[in-house]
């Protein structure tokens, strides 16, 4: 995945935050999506300006002990994209 891409949130997406996790509902994709705590962090860092690489870098700074962080970020981004709740 090209980590210079800048993910954009689907503006019609509603979120419910529950104990650090998030359930998203996209009216345009008519789908609900569960985000665990790591995926929820990624979602919260998507602001329409940060590149994927910036998100990875921010999280790597906050969680230096997380060995699989880059892979987790990519996995979360791909899941969000495949469910239509973000686009480039």
């Amino acid at each position: 995945m090209n980590t210079n891409l800048i993910p954009q949130r689907d503006p019609g997406c509603e979120e419910e935050v529950l104990e650090g996790e998030i359930v998203l509902y996209s009216a345009s994709a008519a789908t609900a999506l569960y985000l665990n705590e790591s995926a929820a962090l990624v979602w919260q860092l998507i602001d329409g300006q940060r590149r994927i690489a910036d998100i990875e870098s921010l999280l790597a700074g906050a969680y230096p002990e997380a060995a699989t962080l880059k892979g987790d970020v990519i996995e979360a981004i791909e899941a969000l994209h495949s469910h239509g709740v973000i686009h480039w």
């Binding site: 419910e16 529950l18 104990e19 359930v23 509902y25 609900a32 569960y34 665990n36 929820a40």
Partner: protein, 283 residues
């Protein structure tokens, strides 16, 4: 049981009542078997009316919903199944306030236990087992939940088992008139499992259980995070088309106040820790 030649009965779920009318005693008995375990509804204008009569020429019965013939034939269980499906459809279609869920509902001391799972997850078997442990049965298929801490209601229909239900309850002596077979399913009166009084119309929200039954499975019972519990509820919403954002926010409200547990099991003998947890959590 003596039944009037003609009569009617209202049954409600989620604030919408339906009327079942019968025009002879045999049809009245059939209506009683279908909704006799469901608590009576307060008088209100029904959203649908089902008229049942015994056929005069061919043996069997016929059910009309307005001008539409919902069932005609000689198999009372098939007729019951068709009407139950129609009732659940109309309740889901009309429900615009709160969640109509594909879930079973049990209670103890007025506190509800929502059992959510796809078809075949073991909702009915678990409900029947809990009934035998002294819990009250409020339905094995469809229930209504108001968001947050509003009351829960269930459709108290005959338990509907798939597969070889009798093997799961070998100690149960089932008189033939208390069971009916339709397709690969068996309808069994909750009375047979010990429920001999009408349950309350509604119960307080309590716990949520997400079971997965698989023969030979190890027992496990784990608390699920509220986000996952929300998704379990969202997957069971039947009236999402009537709700803002398909009811996701309401499901989240319920998951915020009601703890959810994932249960895996392969045999009822493993369920003592479940009972301990459920009864220990009673306020």
């Amino acid at each position: 049981m003596k039944v009037a030649e003609k009569g009617w009965r209202l049954a409600a779920l989620g604030g919408n009542s339906v009327a079942l009318e019968w025009s002879d005693a045999a049809a009245g008995l059939w209506v009683g078997r279908l909704v006799g375990a469901h608590p009576g509804a307060a008088p209100s204008l029904p959203v649908a009316v089902y008229r049942v009569h015994t056929n005069r020429i061919e043996p069997g019965l016929t059910v009309f919903n307005g001008p539409q013939c919902l069932y005609t034939g000689a198999d009372p269980a098939a007729g019951a199944h068709a009407v139950m499906e129609a009732l659940m459809r109309v309740w889901a279609l009309r429900c615009r306030d709160g969640l109509m869920l594909h879930a079973a509902l049990m209670s103890k001391q007025g506190r509800g236990l929502l059992i959510r799972g796809e078809s075949g997850a073991g909702k009915s078997s678990l409900a029947a087992w809990l009934l035998q442990q002294g819990w009250t049965y409020h339905g094995d298929e469809q229930m209504y939940a108001q968001a947050s801490d509003g009351p829960w209601e269930g459709f108290v229909r005959p338990l509907c088992f798939k597969g070889d239900w009798a093997a799961r309850f070998p100690a149960l002596a089932a008189p033939p008139e208390s069971i009916a077979r339709v397709g690969g399913q068996t309808l069994v009166s909750p009375n047979l499992f010990g429920q001999d009084v009408l349950p309350a119309v509604s119960v307080r929200p309590g716990l949520m259980l997400f079971p997965a039954f698989r023969p030979g499975a190890e027992f496990s019972l784990q608390r699920v995070p509220a986000g996952q519990a929300t998704m379990h509820l969202v997957q069971g919403i039947l009236n999402g088309g009537n709700l803002n954002n398909r009811g996701v926010a309401q499901a989240a409200e319920i998951a915020r106040v009601c703890p959810g547990y994932q249960l895996s099991y392969g045999h009822f003998d493993q369920l003592a820790p479940l009972l301990e947890m459920l009864e220990g959590s009673q306020p």
